[in-house]
């Protein structure tokens, strides 16, 4: 088809310069035209792919990539984004390569960008001549989820590395992803299975309660779950291990007050006391637990030691729990690893209404180190807590 310079075919102008969106320049006739580019332009120009190929050949494009199967008879405008790689700039390789299996990532990215479900995208790409990766065993979900691409990233800090069709996913990936994206671990697990990934376990709805961001290993968490679910601690620990939460220890056989001792607020409920903290067990917690249970501070400390909690060697537990001691210790944000300085003593005196001398003496008796050589005043502040 020839046209005079005064009345060029508009499509030829587009083909010889930029596409309808004005974004891309066609390669020189001596270079290969990617298959994806053919479909993309045909979709935008409203041409049958075979007609576009004829036009290209007439314009001198001799090397047009083929799929190995027949060209689709027709393409639709909404096919255009399917064959364009998401986020790849013009100077890269923006066209989906028909010579390679379509990565799962592309299916999910395009689905999220176009609002089409992964199954629909996969079906259409196949109809357009592409072949998918994987073994085609499990059908993809019909609807997309905004987190789909994020779910298959190996790490949420690197967009490049992601998992592909049918990969086996380690258990920790599920709760790492759930934590990073603030979504249900059970949802992550079931969605990954739906996307064709293999997990080392079969997701169960009961897993939701077992997996928390912090505390999955803590005795309080395990014993609390045992109480709520009726499962044994051994069974819970076994499931946590399957779920990739390391190998938690089975707590010592429970005693009636354990959940009170193990709860941060001595109320028998989460949040649970954490074992491996730099400060170790806090004396004020022991005293509060002693008052709540009627046990002596020494008995509480001994029981917590059996459950794996460490009390600093400098701590000097009083024989009897006292509200005044609890109040005093609540005003000090120093552990036994730190020194208590004059400013801390004065602040505690301010908040408790005790004299600095009294505060210093009591903290020393409880095992804290007060290295500042000062005469703490006997005077009290006027304001009490």
């Amino acid at each position: 088809m020839s046209h005079t310079p005064e009345s060029p075919d508009p499509d030829d102008l587009l083909l010889s310069g930029r596409d309808r969106k004005g974004e891309l320049r066609w390669p020189d006739p001596g270079t290969q035209v990617p298959y994806g580019r053919v479909l993309h332009s045909a979709a935008l120009l409203g041409l049958d792919p075979a007609v576009l190929v004829s036009r290209l050949e007439a314009l001198g494009y001799a090397d047009i990539q083929q799929a190995g199967t027949a060209l689709p008879d027709t393409v639709r405008p909404d096919d255009a984004p399917l064959v364009r790689r998401v986020g790849v700039p013009d100077y890269g390789k923006p066209w989906l390569d028909v010579a390679e299996p379509v990565p799962l990532r592309h299916v999910l990215e395009v689905g999220c960008h176009t609002g089409r479900g992964p199954a629909d995208v996969a079906r259409r790409l196949t109809a357009l001549g592409y072949r998918l990766g994987g073994d085609g065993g499990r059908p993809l979900p019909e609807s997309s989820h905004p987190a789909d691409v994020m779910l298959i990233l190996e790490q949420r800090t690197n967009y490049r590395e992601c998992r592909d069709w049918g990969d086996e996913v380690p258990a920790h990936h599920v709760h790492d992803t759930a934590r990073d994206l603030s979504i249900s671990p059970h949802f992550v697990a079931t969605r990954l299975v739906a996307l064709g990934f293999r997990l080392p376990y079969t997701p169960e709805p009961g897993d939701e309660a077992l997996l928390t961001h912090r505390g999955s290993h803590e005795p309080g968490h395990i014993l609390g779950l045992a109480r709520e679910t009726g499962r044994t601690p051994e069974d819970i620990v076994g499931r946590l291990t399957e779920l990739g939460c390391g190998r938690p220890e089975v707590p010592a056989p429970p005693q009636p007050d354990d959940l009170v001792l193990l709860s941060a607020n001595v109320d028998g409920r989460a949040p649970w006391l954490l074992r491996y903290t730099a400060a170790g067990l806090l004396v004020r917690h022991i005293l509060r637990a002693a008052l709540a249970t009627g046990r002596s501070p020494a008995e509480v400390a001994a029981r917590l030691a059996e459950l794996g909690y460490r009390l600093h060697e400098d701590a000097n537990l009083p024989a009897v729990a006292d509200e005044a001691d609890i109040r005093l210790l609540e005003t000090i944000d120093r552990s036994y690893q730190d020194d208590v300085h004059l400013g801390d003593v004065l602040r505690s005196a301010s908040l408790t209404g005790r004299s600095p001398a009294d505060v210093a003496a009591r903290l020393t008796a409880l095992g804290h180190r007060l290295p500042d050589e000062v005469d703490h005043p006997e005077v009290r502040g006027l304001v009490t807590a």
């Binding site: 905004p146 690197n158 000062v374 006027l382 304001v383």
Partner: protein
């Protein structure tokens, strides 16, 4: 001292919104301070697109009319002034009818140096939300504050390692008739700070802020000069609490305070992070606490004399600079 992501704001626990959370699992809109942060990923083609999608998802899944507090981290705020192409808040001001508090720049040290977090002109934001009660800013680079002020703002807080003197003058001169609490971290002139007592004179004179009850002029190398100025400042008698924390306060500044106008009407005097001697600490405490002033003297720092080879005359430092 390191700044951290907020755990609480405007009396509410913060909740970092995720666009992937099932809407049924989201908290009550008015029960949390909604926090927005999208961590950039290496090789991500368009990180701002994900931030825009996050905000759009929030706007379509949460009852905006019930939202009371919002906190913005990266990439809305950062050190490269990239931000988003459109102001995420102002365009929704007709729906955020219950918004009471905003925090801009909730970044930690690993994300950006405090002094380099770009804030820009907050006048459009204040104009868009005439009912706003609390505005908190972390950063300082490029900050501009409208001297015309705001009628309803009750709390204004600026956390900075280097607050531009021009911004300090604007805030000091601003008409804020409802303002009850003002905290300014003035910062170091090496990081964009350098405000002087003179820059604060309208504030110290008590003008433009008749409801002010808590004043913090903090985190400054000139803490002694500030203390001396406050010793006779007309604003002090109407305050109930005063903070000179986080700076290089020495015995000289404390002496000026004690010799100045009475402070016994104060309920709280915060001098934490200081370079006071033990003797001065005890003197402050014994003179003020029995009279009802709660004095915070924690976080005493030690002046190690500095390094003369580097031209340092002393070894004192503010709590938050870089």
């Amino acid at each position: 001292m390191h700044v951290h992501h907020l755990a609480h704001f405007h009396g509410l626990p913060t909740y970092t919104f995720s666009p992937y959370t099932d809407p049924a699992d989201l908290p009550d809109p008015g029960a949390v301070a909604w926090r927005f942060q999208v961590v950039e990923m290496a090789y991500e083609p368009d990180p701002l697109e994900r931030a825009e999608a996050c905000w759009a998802r929030f706007a379509e899944t949460v009852e905006l009319e019930k939202v009371k507090a919002l906190v913005f981290g990266c990439p809305w705020y950062g050190d490269d002034n990239a931000g988003l192409p459109e102001e995420p808040l102002i365009s929704l001001n007709s729906r955020l009818t219950g918004l009471e508090a905003i925090f801009l720049g909730d970044l930690e040290d690993e994300e950006a140096m405090v002094s380099s977090i770009h804030l820009g002109d907050v006048a459009p934001l204040l104009e868009a939300f005439p009912g706003l009660r609390e505005l908190a800013l972390r950063g300082g680079e490029g900050l501009r504050f409208p001297v015309g002020g705001h009628d309803e703002l009750r709390v204004l807080r600026v956390e900075s390692g280097g607050l531009p003197p021009e911004a300090v003058r604007q805030i000091a001169a601003a008409e804020l008739p409802s303002l009850e609490r003002l905290e300014l971290w003035l910062g170091d002139d090496h990081y964009g700070g350098g405000a002087t007592v003179e820059d604060l004179l309208p504030l110290l004179s008590g003008k433009g802020k008749p409801a002010l009850r808590h004043l913090g002029v903090q985190n400054s190398p000139i803490q002694d000069e500030l203390a001396a100025a406050l010793a006779s400042a007309p604003v002090v008698p109407r305050l109930t609490s005063l903070s000179l924390s986080l700076g290089m306060l020495t015995d000289e500044g404390a002496e000026a305070l004690l010799h100045g106008q009475p402070l016994t009407h104060l309920r709280e005097l915060d001098l934490s992070h200081h370079f006071l001697s033990h003797a001065m600490m005890l003197r402050l405490w014994t003179e003020l606490e029995p009279r009802g002033v709660r004095v915070d003297l924690t976080a005493r720092q030690v002046d190690d004399g500095g390094n003369p080879e580097w031209g340092q005359e002393h070894g004192r430092y503010i709590a938050v600079s870089e």
